[in-house]
């Protein structure tokens, strides 16, 4: 496949990744989707999950993101992550801390909608912990 997908991952603090890749799997809020070169334009919100990047050289990168947006346009794929941690840097302890925070969110939630939202986040984090 000659065509390359231009992929950019940015978090509020900095630009994390930028370059040409083969394929990216993005955890969209309505289901995971894979993005290949010349994908149709999509704008989607993200849920906490893992972005799977297959690099130009076939090398795999796994990055954990905590929500954000993904935009696919003819120029490429841009992921605006709320928070992004490379899986190599993610340790069990940091994750456990996140889970504790999420648990607090569930107990602090003021109404049902918020509680449900917080609960979903918590579930996803727990799933991630088991995947690790």
């Amino acid at each position: 496949m000659a065509e390359k997908l231009k992929f950019e991952l940015v978090s509020p603090e900095r630009l994390l990744m930028s370059g040409d890749v083969k394929q990216v799997t993005v955890p969209g809020s309505e289901g995971e989707f894979g993005v290949l070169p010349s994908h149709a334009p999509v704008l989607s919100t993200l849920r906490p999950g893992i972005i799977d990047v297959v690099g130009d050289d076939g090398k795999q990168d796994r990055i954990f993101v905590r929500g954000g947006f993904a935009e696919v346009n003819p120029a490429g794929l841009t992921v605006l992550a709320e928070e992004a941690i490379h899986m190599d840097d993610l340790d069990a302890e940091a994750l456990a801390q996140q889970i504790r925070n999420a648990e607090e969110d569930v107990t602090d939630a003021t109404d049902d909608a918020k509680r449900q939202e917080a609960q979903e986040t918590l579930d996803q984090l727990k799933q991630l912990q088991s995947a690790l």
Binding site: E8, V10, S11, P12, E13, R14, L15, G28, S29, E30, A40, P41, V42, L43, S44, T45, F69, E71, N73, P74, A75, T78, L80, E82
Partner: protein, 295 residues
């Protein structure tokens, strides 16, 4: 005429001051570099955000179900001024120029008969505004203990502002901060935060989608509803970072001036000290000689 001892003391104290200002200048220079790096690192995100938002709002154009954060509340009666300044002084005109801009803006709005509320970020802005607009200041957000501004800080401020917006406490929010142009030039800026101003920046070219239409997951309105509050947080974050860099830049040049002034003062004082010392020696000699002649 100050005595020799007075002069000596003054020279010593000016020297001590000079040491302090010199040290502050060097600290500001080091901090400036870091602040500048942080501001530059955050730039890609806000640029991408702006382009996503521009695309999205272009798609929303002409629809009447646009969220109020984008379209406004159709009123312009209640204004919130979010004034971002530094926590510390000794940085030249940095704080006062932001406060001045905010004050003029507030005065204009008041003379037009609008209600104005002020939310200060940073102690210095509060200090500068409390005399004239004390009763309009609703709160001051303190970032004193924060060493490096993170997105969380901006997020906290944003959720506060958004909560007020949701409660209908204001219609238009304007953000005041100082834009970092260079070490010697920082421009106080007013930026409309709510309703969102979709910037028609030259660098964000509207993408030619060649007739392709975006797929939205979930639909446009829902995405906008999550995207817009984030955009508010991002804008505040950017303002805070620009401010941090500007503050250090302003402090650096202010302290550079102060160090140079102290140097000049030391030279002057040393000159008059030496003059007086010589005059005293001459006087003593005259006394001895005329004493010897009288014998």
């Amino acid at each position: 005429m100050p005595s020799l001892k007075d002069l000596r003391n003054r020279i010593a104290s000016v020297k001590a001051t000079q040491k302090i200002t010199k040290a502050m200048q060097m600290v500001a220079a080091a901090k400036l570099r870091r602040a500048q790096e942080a501001a530059e690192a955050a730039r890609p995100y806000s640029q991408r955000m702006a382009s996503v938002l521009a695309n999205l709002s272009a798609a929303m154009e002409g629809r009447d179900d646009a969220p109020p954060l984008l379209a406004g509340t159709a009123k312009t009666d209640n204004h919130l001024l979010l004034v971002c300044t530094a926590e510390r002084g000794l940085c030249g005109g940095f704080n006062s120029s932001i406060a001045k801009l905010a004050r003029e803006h507030a005065d204009d709005l008041i003379s037009e008969g609008k209600t104005v509320q002020i939310l200060c970020v940073g102690k210095k802005g509060f200090d500068a505004l409390k005399r004239l607009h004390g009763q309009r200041i609703i709160d001051t957000i303190n970032l004193r203990g924060v060493r490096q501004i993170g997105f969380v800080n901006a997020h906290d401020i944003a959720s506060r502002v958004l909560e007020m917006f949701d409660n209908g406490e204001f219609d238009i929010c304007t953000l005041f901060y100082s834009e970092f142009k260079s070490v010697i030039s920082q421009v106080p800026t007013a930026q409309r935060l709510i309703p969102s101003q979709v910037e028609a920046e030259a660098e964000v070219e509207p993408l030619d989608l060649a007739g392709a239409i975006y797929d939205y997951e979930p639909d446009e309105t829902e995405i906008l509803e999550t995207l817009l509050p984030r955009n508010v947080a991002i804008q505040i974050f950017r303002a805070l970072l620009e401010n941090a860099a500007s503050e250090q830049g302003a402090r650096m040049s202010a302290m550079d001036n102060a160090t140079r002034n102290a140097g000049e003062m030391i030279d002057k004082l040393t000159l008059s000290y030496n003059r007086q010392r010589q005059a005293q020696i001459t006087k003593e000699l005259i006394e001895i000689i005329s004493g010897a002649e009288a014998l």
